[in-house]
């Protein structure tokens, strides 16, 4: 039989991929989340999550880490992105590359290097676990914040800035009323790309000797203890949080289709 490369046939590998790696795991996740160890339907996993001070504490700690990381990424990234996007420097693509360059190095190597530096400064990393985790994550995620903001500002029509000045707005007003609002889609993308991963990226915490759990390590600890049902419920709730977060940020972006969205 000859194989015809119609659109339908060409789609088969992707459908298989989606079925095996997305749909199936999701179904398995749902199954475990709403059953107990002997396979009977139950909601105890859900109620456990919201009654167990451990899980709730971890959730808040994760939020705190993620929010702080995002905050620092944003205040570091925006000025960099702004000045690079608006400067007439010929070397600006090189500078952008310098910021992106660390991403080409394996992230565990990067964090190991950071660990050594922080140890040199602080003597013992155990003194400031929260701060160190935030430093590690900020270092890790900074390029993901810079790039979308840079793209958003760079794509701004220079005529809009000129129009604002023409209409009597000084540099500050032009920035506040034109550049900043029009770069918000890029900021939203950046936040989404930093906030969500930093809720679960427990490897950074591990490597910087922060023994507090965040969502990622919590799930992993449940699974390590063979509590597949509890772990799945936490994963499901995390997934839900991510979905809501993504929906919130993307609906705002719809207005500006050529912003700097990466999502």
């Amino acid at each position: 039989m000859r194989i015809h490369f119609t659109r339908k046939n060409l789609g088969i590998p992707y459908v298989l991929f989606l079925l095996i790696f997305v749909v199936m795991p999701l179904l398995v996740l749902f199954y475990f989340a709403f059953t107990n160890g002997s396979g009977e339907f139950t909601l105890t996993n859900l109620t456990d999550f919201f009654t167990n001070p451990n899980t709730l504490g971890t959730l808040f700690y994760s939020f705190a880490i993620a929010a702080t990381t995002t905050f620092f990424c944003l205040i570091l990234a925006y000025p960099v992105a702004y000045f690079l996007a608006t400067s007439k420097l010929k070397a600006r693509s090189v500078i952008i590359m310098l910021f992106v360059l660390p991403m080409w190095i394996n992230f565990s190597l990067r964090i190991t290097a950071l660990k050594e530096i922080l140890t040199l400064i602080q003597g013992n990393l155990a003194f400031y676990p929260f701060a160190n985790s935030v430093i590690g994550m900020t270092y890790d995620f900074l390029p993901f914040m810079i790039l979308p903001i840079y793209t958003a500002i760079e794509k701004l029509d220079p005529a809009l800035i000129e129009a604002a000045k023409d209409l009597g707005a000084g540099d500050k007003e032009t920035f506040l009323r034109i550049t900043l609002p029009l770069s918000l889609p890029g900021v939203m993308s950046g936040i989404a790309m930093v906030f969500l991963p930093s809720m679960t990226n427990y490897v950074v915490l591990d490597m910087l000797y922060n023994s507090t759990f965040i969502m990622g390590s919590l799930i992993s600890s449940y699974f390590a203890a063979d509590n597949w049902n509890g772990g799945s419920m936490i994963a499901l709730i995390l997934l839900l949080i991510i979905c809501i977060f993504t929906l919130l940020t993307t609906t705002k972006e719809e207005d500006n289709k050529d912003g700097g969205n990466l999502l």
Binding site: A159, A163, K165, D166, G168, P181, L182
Partner: protein
């Protein structure tokens, strides 16, 4: 003394730092309050840069810009009582129409009710009442254009700058907006400075036109002046359709061009090399024996109001607009009133002439083949096996309908006593000593005058052959309509 000039540009020059390109050179202009001034020129002529310097987006390298007699040369755009309508409107996409228009007024910290009233009034002016809450992307191009105008006008600027504001609109819309802009100008009395490359737009709308080319002002004048009395060949060629011939002043108020001697009204020194500019509507077609020159009709194209008739007279082609239809091939005469012949002194003595393409697709002049290949004339063109020539983009060059214009500098032509040696034979009809060489005018058998520089003295009325090396000629193709 009351100073009625609202804005003056004095010796303004703009050189861009990064590449040293001089966009505007020694620009001097005075604009009176309430005038509608248009900067007209081909793209890259510096008209937009000049406008940007008036707006304050670019700073002049040299020179001064005075507003009401006071220098605003270094003032930032937000401190100038001048507003701009941008080429692609530059409306703020994150604001609705009300917010866009109110932007400038909010900057001036006006009370909310005043802003609301002004916005409403200006929306009425641009015929978009009730559009306050609409978002920008629900508007058509023409409506966005009106909002852009409204956004600038609501600030009651002393000068409104318009940078090719109608360029993005379709023809019908453009015509309507031209009329509306003109009406707005009349109604408001604000000074308009308008930039366009569309000569028709400039002619219909302006009180004063500034024709620019390569960063320099070519001519400043009313539309009538510019059209009827162009000061040089560039202006004549750029504004409207014209026949331009190189020629020579044979006597006082007599010019020879296009194979005939014409009376004219421009008093230019005898023997001067000149360019004669004749508008197609100024040529009167007569019976062959009644015309100053004779010719054969080579094409007739109906253009709605008139026929565009091409008449071949010797080696020259005259374009004539006439309401009467004439058959192709008919022999006609042509007469031109002296006051319709506009003669300007030629800036240089470059010889322009038309060459033919023969059946072997080779160039010919005076029935002599020029030793050059057609493919050399057009960059990256190729000759296919069937003899057709395609250009760089792969499009076929229609050689049947193409006209090839050749030009050669007077110092590149050699005269010879051996008349057969030259590409063409002619008689020396004029000579002028130029200090270190003589300028000769050779009147050829084909009724064309060639200018030749030679350091040796030849006699008047000598018959000479003109040797014109092909590698010194440059060729341009003119596709006929």
């Amino acid at each position: 003394m009351e100073n009625t000039n609202i804005i003056e540009l004095k010796n303004v020059t703009k050189r861009f730092e990064d590449d040293g390109f001089v966009a505007v050179e020694d620009f001097n202009l005075e604009v009176k309050r309430g005038e509608f001034v248009t900067f007209l020129g081909p793209s890259g002529c510096g008209k937009t840069t000049t406008l940007r310097m008036i707006a304050g987006f670019d700073l002049p390298t040299h020179g001064e810009i005075l507003l009401n007699g006071k220098s605003i040369t270094k003032l930032p755009p937000y401190d100038r009582p001048i507003n701009t309508v941008f080429q692609r409107y530059a409306l703020f996409p994150h604001m609705n129409i009300y917010e866009n228009i109110a932007f400038g007024l909010k900057q001036k910290k006006m009370p909310k009710d005043v802003i609301a009233r002004k916005v409403k009034r200006v929306l009425t002016l641009v015929d978009l009442e009730g559009f306050e809450e609409r978002s920008i992307d629900t508007l058509s191009g023409g409506q966005q254009q009106r909002i852009a105008i409204a956004r600038a006008l609501v600030n009651e600027p002393e000068i409104l700058l318009l940078d090719e504001p109608l360029g993005a609109l379709d023809l019908k819309m453009r015509k309507e907006m031209q009329v509306e802009l003109k009406n707005m100008h009349k109604k408001l009395g604000i000074t308009f400075i308008y930039v366009t490359h569309d000569q028709e737009e400039a002619l219909t709308m302006s009180d004063k036109i500034v024709v620019m080319n390569e960063g320099k002002i070519q001519q400043i004048g009313t539309p009538e002046d510019i059209y009827n009395e162009p000061v040089n060949v560039f202006v004549a060629d750029f504004i409207g359709e014209s026949n331009i011939f190189s020629g020579i002043m044979t006597k006082k108020l007599k010019a020879r061009f296009c194979g005939g001697e014409f009376d004219c009204v421009d008093d230019i020194l005898e023997g001067m090399h000149v360019s004669a500019v004749i508008r197609p509507e100024d040529v009167e077609i007569t019976k062959p024996e009644e015309g100053t020159i004779k010719g054969v009709v080579s094409s007739v194209v109906f253009q709605g109001i008139h026929y565009e008739i091409a008449i071949q007279s010797g080696k020259n082609e005259m374009i004539v607009y006439s309401t009467e239809h004439i058959e192709v091939g008919e022999k006609v005469g042509m007469k031109i009133k002296p006051e319709s012949i506009h003669v300007v002194i030629a800036e240089d003595h470059t010889n322009h002439f038309q060459v033919d393409i023969n059946s072997d697709y080779r160039l010919e002049y005076n029935n002599k083949v020029l030793d050059t290949s057609l493919t050399k004339l057009f960059k990256d063109s190729k000759r296919l096996s069937d003899g057709t020539v395609i250009d760089a983009s792969g499009e076929k060059i229609d050689l049947e309908r193409a006209k090839i214009h050749a030009s050669i500098q007077p110092q590149d032509i050699k005269m010879t006593d051996n008349v057969d040696e030259g590409l063409i034979e002619g008689k020396i009809s004029n000579l002028i000593y130029q200090g270190s060489y003589y300028l000769y005018v050779i009147h050829t058998e084909l009724e064309h005058d060639f200018a030749v520089y030679d350091e040796y003295l030849w006699n008047m009325h000598d018959r000479v052959g003109l040797i014109m090396p092909v590698d010194k000629m440059s060729f341009t193709i003119k596709k006929s309509k």
